[in-house]
Subunit: 516 residues, 2 copies
Amino acid sequence: MNIEASVSKQKRGRRKRSRDHSQKPIRQPNYRQLKHPFPQQSVFSDDEIVNIHNTALRVLEELGVKVLLPEAREIFAKAGATVDEEDMVFIGRDIVEHALASAPKSIKLRAANPLHEQDYKLGSMIFMPGVGCPNANDAERGRRPGSLRDFEEAIKLCQTYDVMHTFGPLTEPQDIPINVRHYETMRVQLENGDKPMFVYARGRGQVEQAFEMVQVALNLSSDEFTNGSWLTTVINTNSPRMLDNPMAQGIIDFARAGQISIITPFCLAGAMAPITPAGALTLQHAEALMGITLAQLANKGAPVSYGGFSSNVHMKSGAPAFGTPDHLKMQLGGGQLAKLIGLPWRTASGSASNTADMQASLETVMGLWGGSLAHGTLLVHSAGWLEGGLTFGYEKFINDIESLQMFAELCEQPKASDEEIGFEALADVQPGGHFFATQHTMDRYSTAFYEPIVADLNNFGSWTEAGSKTSSQRATEVWKKNLAEFVQPTTGPDAVERLMPYIEKATAEGGASPLE
Amino acid sequence: MNIEASVSKQKRGRRKRSRDHSQKPIRQPNYRQLKHPFPQQSVFSDDEIVNIHNTALRVLEELGVKVLLPEAREIFAKAGATVDEEDMVFIGRDIVEHALASAPKSIKLRAANPLHEQDYKLGSMIFMPGVGCPNANDAERGRRPGSLRDFEEAIKLCQTYDVMHTFGPLTEPQDIPINVRHYETMRVQLENGDKPMFVYARGRGQVEQAFEMVQVALNLSSDEFTNGSWLTTVINTNSPRMLDNPMAQGIIDFARAGQISIITPFCLAGAMAPITPAGALTLQHAEALMGITLAQLANKGAPVSYGGFSSNVHMKSGAPAFGTPDHLKMQLGGGQLAKLIGLPWRTASGSASNTADMQASLETVMGLWGGSLAHGTLLVHSAGWLEGGLTFGYEKFINDIESLQMFAELCEQPKASDEEIGFEALADVQPGGHFFATQHTMDRYSTAFYEPIVADLNNFGSWTEAGSKTSSQRATEVWKKNLAEFVQPTTGPDAVERLMPYIEKATAEGGASPLE
C-alpha cells in the first residue's frame, strides 16, 4: 500500500482540472519557540514544597555556604550576611527574599538571527544540546578526546536543527590551549551559527573577552549588548555547600554585564547530597538561592536562572544515574520549587549509557518527559549526551533530535471541527475500503504527519536488504549528510571578519588564563 | 567511589553495636497493581470531544456498519436497529446510549494467583505484553516463525516480571495446527503462569472450549467463573465500518460468559481511517461503540472494554507508524472519549522498528507516556513488540520491562517530611564532603533507588572491558537467565494435571476449527 503513489495518481488527475492547486504544500513545522504541551505536574504537596523551601533558607542561615572568592564574600557581607574566618557565609532569609524579588521572571535570549531568539521564562521549553563533554564519539572515528574539529562539527549539527534552540560547550576542544580556547569556541559559534551562545565562566579574563567578542563580531553597541542576554553560562556549585572561585566570579561578571548565569547545583542523591529526593532538593534549592542572591547583590535585576540537576547514584557502583524514577521526581519537585519562587529554571535530561542503544534512548526520553512535565524552561543535555556527560555522541545526537522533534510536535494541538472530522470522507468510503484517495486525504497528505529523520518504517525484508542497520547505524549517515550539506548562516562571514583582528591581537598578548 | 562498600563498612561497625539492626532490608517494590501517576491530559476541548462523540453516533445511525454474522445482525435488529439487504446495520443513538448505561465501569480481572488480579477500570494502569506477533526474534536464534516453544518462553518471561500484568497471544505458535492451537496456548498459560489469561476469538468452538479449560484447570464452579473475568480477548473491527464473523461471535460469546472483550478498532489515519486525528478517532469511536452495544445487547451488564489503537501511517511508504506525535494525540483524544462515556479503555504502545535500537525504545516509551497520560486502563504491546507487531523480540522485551518498571516507580510519590529532608544530615556533612556514611543514608541506602535490570552504569573503560555490549546485547543474557531460573507458579502442576484429560479428549475428537 504505497499511499504516496496512490495519492499522487489522484493528484495528477486533479491537477488537470485546476492548475491553481498544483503546488504541493511542504510541511514546515515551527520548532523554534516552544511552550510545554502539558500543564506542570507535581510530586510533592504544596506544604511539602514550602517545607523544602524553608529548610533551604535555614541551611543558608544556620549552616552557611563556603564561598572561596573574597570578592563574593565581601558582596554578601555588605548585604548583611555573616562571614566567619573559615570563609563560611551565613545568609539571612531576608537577604534571599529581597534577591528573589528583584530577579527577572522573563529574560530575552538574544541571537544573531532574531528567528532564534527565546523568551527565557516559565512556560517556555528551550532545548540545549548535551554539553560539557571531554570526549567525542562517532561510529566512524571512535571515541576520542574532544577537539576543535569535533566542537565545530557539533555546533554545525546544532545549527542544522531548529529544535536545538541554543548552543553550548558541546565537546571540549582539548587540542586548543586553555588560555586561548574561548577565542576558538566563540569564533566557531559565530562563524557557523546564529543561535544563542554559551561561554564557560573560567575567570574574569575569559568572560570579559567573550562579552567583547560578541559585541565586536555582531557589531553591537553596549546598550544593544545588555538589552537581553547574548551569552549564557552554567554555574555549578560544589555540592554540598561550596562555591568556588571561577563560579563565584562568573555569577558576578555575568550579572554585571546583564548576561544570564544559570545556577545549577549538581546534587547526586546518596553521594554529594542527601539520599532522599526531598533532601537532595533542599540542598539544590539552598545552593541555587545562594547563587541567585549573589547575582542580584552584584547587579540588582540582573538576568539569572534557577537551576537543578539532581539525580541519584547507582548505590552498587556509586555511578551517577540519569532518567531514573528518582531523577524524574527531583525534576518535578525542582519545577515546583521554581514555581514557588516564580523564576524560570533549568533542568536536564541525558544518559549514563556508553553507547547509542535502548538504554540511552530510554534514559534521555524519560528525562525529556520529566523535564517538560516539570516545566523546565531550559532542558540541557537534551541531545547527544552519553556516559553521564563524558562523551558527546554523534549518533545519539541524531536519535535525540528525533525525540525532540516528535516531542515538539505535541505542542500543536489537533482540532476537531466538522471539517477536520470529515463526515463526508467517512460517508464516501465503503466498509472495508480505504481513505487514500478521498478529497479529505488529498487535501492534507503532504503535510499531515511528522516525517522522521532516522526512524526506519520499512518492513523487515526491505530493512534487511538495506543492511539491517540499527537507528544508531543509520544516524551515522544522517550526521555525515548534515555536515556535508551544511549551510553557513548569512551572519557568519561578517562576524568572523570583524572578530579575527580581535582574536589575533588577544592571542598575541598571550590569551587569558583561567581562574583556578 | 564505591558507595555500597563504604556503607557496608559503616554497617559492619553498626552491627556490632546492635545486632537487632543487622537485617539488611531488601527493596521490594510492588509493581502489581498500579494507578496512573499523573492526572489525565487532554488534546481536544470538551466541545470537540462531544462533537467527535456525536459524529460517531451519526456514523452508526446514518452510515451504518457492515456486520457479517447473521446472529449479530439479528441481535441488533431485535433491539431496533435497521438492517438492510447488504448486511448494513444502522444503529440509533438511543440503542447505543442504553448500552453505555449498562456496561460496567469496573471489571475484576481474575487470576490463578489472587495477587495478580486487577481492577479493570478508569485510573488503573495495566500492562499487557506485545501480542499478536506471527514471528519471534532473539539474538541467539534470529528471526523465525513463532513456535510453541517461543510462546512458552514468552509466557515465562511475562510471568517473571510483576510489572507484566496480564498474558496475551505473544507470538503465534505456528507449528501447532490451528484447530488444536488454543489447547496449547491455554495449557502453557496455566502451566507456567498465574496471571490473567487471554484467548483469541476464533469462533465459538474454540472460545467455549477455552472457557471450559479455565474452569477445569482451576477447578472453578460456574459461579466462580463468571464472578469477574478470567479470560480476555481483543476484538478488532475491520475498519472502516465492518465487523467480521469471528469477531462478532467473540463479542457475543464473551459477553454471555461474563468474560471481557476489548473492542479495539485499529484505525490507521490516512489508510483505513481519515487522515486527521479527529477523523480517525471518530471512526474508532463509532466502531468501539458498536462493539460495546453488541456486547450489552447479547448480555446486559456484561464486561466489555472501550478500546482504540489509532495511529498514523508513514505517508511515503504507507507503513504503520507507532509512538508518533499523531499516535499520542489520538491516545489522548481516545482517553477523553473513554472518560466521556465513563468506561475503562485500552490503548497501546509499541514500535515499528525492526530491531531493539534507539528507535524501538523511543517509539515504545513515547506510547507508554501517551497511554498513561491518556489514562489507558490497559496498555497493550507494552513490551517486546517490534516491526509494528510482526515480531515478538526477546531483547526488546527485556529493555521494555526496564521502561515499565521505571515508569511504575513514578506511581510512588516521594515525601518531604522533616525526616525525609534530613536537616541533621545536611548539618553533619561539611562543605565539599559527602553523604555516603551519614545515618540518613545508612538508614535508606539498600532500598533507596530503582535497581536496573539491563541498564549498565559502569564507566566506559569497564564497559569496554566487559565487551562493549549494547543494552540489546546485554538483554540476551537477561532473558536467558530468566528462562534458566524460571520458577513455575505453585498452581501450575495441578492445573495441568486437571487440564490434560480434557485436552486429550478434545484433541482426539478433532479439536475445534476456527470460524472463517
